[in-house]
Symmetry: C2
DNA sequence: GTCTATAATTGGATAGAC
DNA sequence: GTCTATCCAATTATAGAC
């Protein structure tokens, strides 16, 4: 399977190709790789199967294109504009953004499919990691470093602290959602989870005195 | 799909049934549900396909039997004999046991397949959660509660603290392993991860003074 | 590029003999 | 229970007309 590193924006593709990619994305994210047939994708896109094959050489390439496109969409996490002086408020904002990102139905679906298919398509792991978790952690790491420099936090290793922050915020709700346990949209619960995580993080990293 | 709640021990099954179940486990854990054919399982078990169907009514039932058997094998986590007075040492022991459990190739394979197939087989999520993460967290929660009672830790909500401990220890290495990033057996790295997590946890929950 | 129709293969499941 | 041989449905992929 080949995963295009930079996908053309969808507008640059022909109308049919765009429709096929969108249909494939919906189908794959909902059903996984193996359970979705090219027939179903063609039907959902409103084209014939031959047209699908005119744009994507085979099922694997189509799948790769979908994963690349979806992964790209998760690069939008930013923490740069937050004020490291108001540390608790900023961390809670970051935690809430992070949770909103990883708990969205789309993100959950992507996680499921990548984890489930990485044995068959080993490339997926790296593609997803670099487009998703790695970028997010870098953003948070940068914020923590700034906070440490001005004395808002007592952090020795900013990279490790960012890892731990992310892990604390993710908590067990993410895995529970991946396993389809518990409700889907529970926004109140997410806010509570974010606050608990930040509280513990601050107990560990707040400057002494 | 039906997931038998208590599986008969394998010795109680006939030799062929045992071989089939073992072969199916190897195949499913290595390749996932969709990518493994009944032909392949029969071949690996050294029997004909008809014999497979004589013991398991269809592919789904065989899969359910595999998942139930594997899940049962993850109930062995215990922290009851550890001494809550030597809190740092005990927590490091727990962290190392936990990491050894969740980072084992078998555990990783089970995680992948359950997360990947939970959309197709919604039962899997609950079966796995209760047999795995839930049991482990309960054990750790009990230990933390004992430690809090004797003043080794300053914990308000033991359940939440256990969640956070588990999340900190799991860190990002677990997801990286799920995605097939990084080396497989890196024991030294696991020990470092365990220590970092415990260090942060203790900074947050060590009694003041 | 796009369609209809079809080839070629795979894979789940079964019939029937022993 | 076990095997060989087979059925049948689904699925990937392509041929050929327009």
């Amino acid at each position: 399977m080949s995963v295009p590193q930079r996908t053309e924006p969808r507008e640059a593709l022909g109308g049919k190709a765009e429709a096929i990619l969108a249909a494939a994305e919906r189908a794959f994210l909902a059903g996984g790789y193996g359970a979705v047939s090219m027939d179903a994708i063609a039907r959902e896109a409103g084209v014939s199967k031959a047209t699908v094959y005119a744009h994507f050489s085979d099922k694997e390439e189509l799948f790769g294109a979908v994963i690349a496109a979806v992964s790209e969409r998760f690069g939008g996490f930013s923490a740069l504009e937050l004020d490291p002086r108001d540390i608790e408020c900023s961390l809670i904002t970051i935690a809430n953004r992070f949770l909103a990102l990883i708990m969205s139905p789309e993100s959950i679906a992507v996680n499921r499919i990548i984890i489930g298919e990485v044995t068959r398509f080993p490339v997926l792991g790296a593609v997803f990691w670099e487009a998703g978790p790695e970028r997010v952690r870098t953003q948070i790491e940068t914020f923590l470093r700034r906070a440490a420099e001005i004395g808002s936090l007592a952090i020795d290793d900013a990279r490790l602290a960012a890892e731990q922050f992310v892990s604390l915020v993710r908590g067990e709700i993410h895995l529970r959602r991946l396993l389809r346990l518990g409700p889907e949209g529970d926004a109140a619960n997410l806010a509570v989870a974010a606050e608990s995580a930040v509280e513990t993080f601050l107990r560990a990293f707040r400057p002494a005195g």
